[in-house]
Amino acid sequence: MRTKLLLLATLSFLLFSYKLQGQACCSGGVPVSSNLGLPVSSSNVLQFSLSHDFSALNTLKTGTTTQKSRERERTTQSILLELGYAFSDRFSVDGFFAYLQQDRLIHFSNDLTRTRGIGDAVFLFKYNLIIGDFTNLTFGIGPKLPLGATDHLSENSPIPPALDLQSGSGAWDGLLWGQWSQSLSFRPSLNFVSTLIYSYRGVNNEYQCQNGRCQTYQFGQDVQAMFGLSDRLYWRKSIFDASLLFRYRFVAQDLFNDAPRPSTGGNFLLLSPNITYWVNPKFSINATVELPIYSKVRDTQVAPTYRFNFGIYHRIALKENDSMIKSQ
């Protein structure tokens, strides 16, 4: 009963928070890549994660220099649904779906450009190469399907906003994903975790078509490396998982008709604390904050200011051999 109430309360919060209409990168690229990868599980387990993600890019930067101007705000709110199923102890597949609201607000003219829609979907086919008592190593590969639209209009203009404000990219991407975790013999709950993600960004060949002729647009290639530690904590008979991750992200320049587009791409180092409360062994509520430590952008851009994610996780054993191998 307590689980159901918590589930309803959390879903209500997710709905309410979505309707808060908070103000606003890029076809959901940040929220998707930041949340990719469900925990490793045993066979015949269905995993389900639903979260609300709020990403704000309000810090105007030139290279590493922060500009004084706070005129520009870009926020992306996402409802993220991730479903995962383990066919065996080694093979599993994750599906990642998003619904996005992207805002661009200019304070000077109070001009708000807003788009909403279903984002691109990611499928990640994972293989557990090492399943040990202390070490786990998992690799994944998969496509990003261009399910999101690229022609959304904002309410205040008949001109479609730029591609980075659209919920879809209009291109097929490919992802390589790898995760390593190592726990310590004297404290098995303490894990060192490292994740690598390479996103090959495909080309949108139907960008700004006019009289049968189209431009091409390709988002910048994206490499991310995460490293940190997580531990299980017990407090007042409750179980919590806490983690602290560093995330480094390199994004190459976007290409417009094969030419580098100014004010795109950069290097970012972010710090990401997370807390997960286990309501029961199959259901948890989690919150993550992400804060920038270092940003170096190409030319002048709005850079990450903060990101917040709040969600629930549920796992369902379709057969009786349900036992979790590792927490995330």
């Binding site: 589930l7 979505y18 520009r72 661009r104 450009t113 909403r116 209009l153 008949p158 001109i159 730029a162």
Partner: protein
Amino acid sequence: MKLKYLNLIALLVLFYACEKESVPDTESEGNWLIPQNEIRDGGPGKDGIPSIDNPEFVAVNDIDFLSEDDLVVGVKVGAEIRAYPHLILDWHEIVNDQLEDLSLALNYCPLTGTAIGWKSKIDGKVTTFGVSGLLYNTNLMPYDRLTNSTWSQMRLDCVEGELQGKV
């Protein structure tokens, strides 16, 4: 098992609720003098590139941030001569200035490399111009802050809004 169904029902409600509030993807009834499908969103948004209003000037001999080869846009009104460096215009694109009795909007497009100064008095009322964030043939489209109408730099006229057709 009930929890599974509860999850799925809640999920459907959640996505349905979101979808109902989405912006309709219908074509606008916008009235433009130029083909609407040839206008592009440049990315930064309206006033995302901030104009300079009432700029401050320094004497030529006091300038230490330009080299001999740096380009400027020169304006002469009566005895007054002013130079607007490309280096600054690249960041702001529009300067709203006053030279003697003339209200001037100097607009510069870094993409096409074109700079044009036009009077910013419309029907007897002085206004300022800002960067609309839109592009027509990769060229700057200013907007006037009096009526919010959109102008084309290369056409030298107003292409949308209350002042449509004004030159």
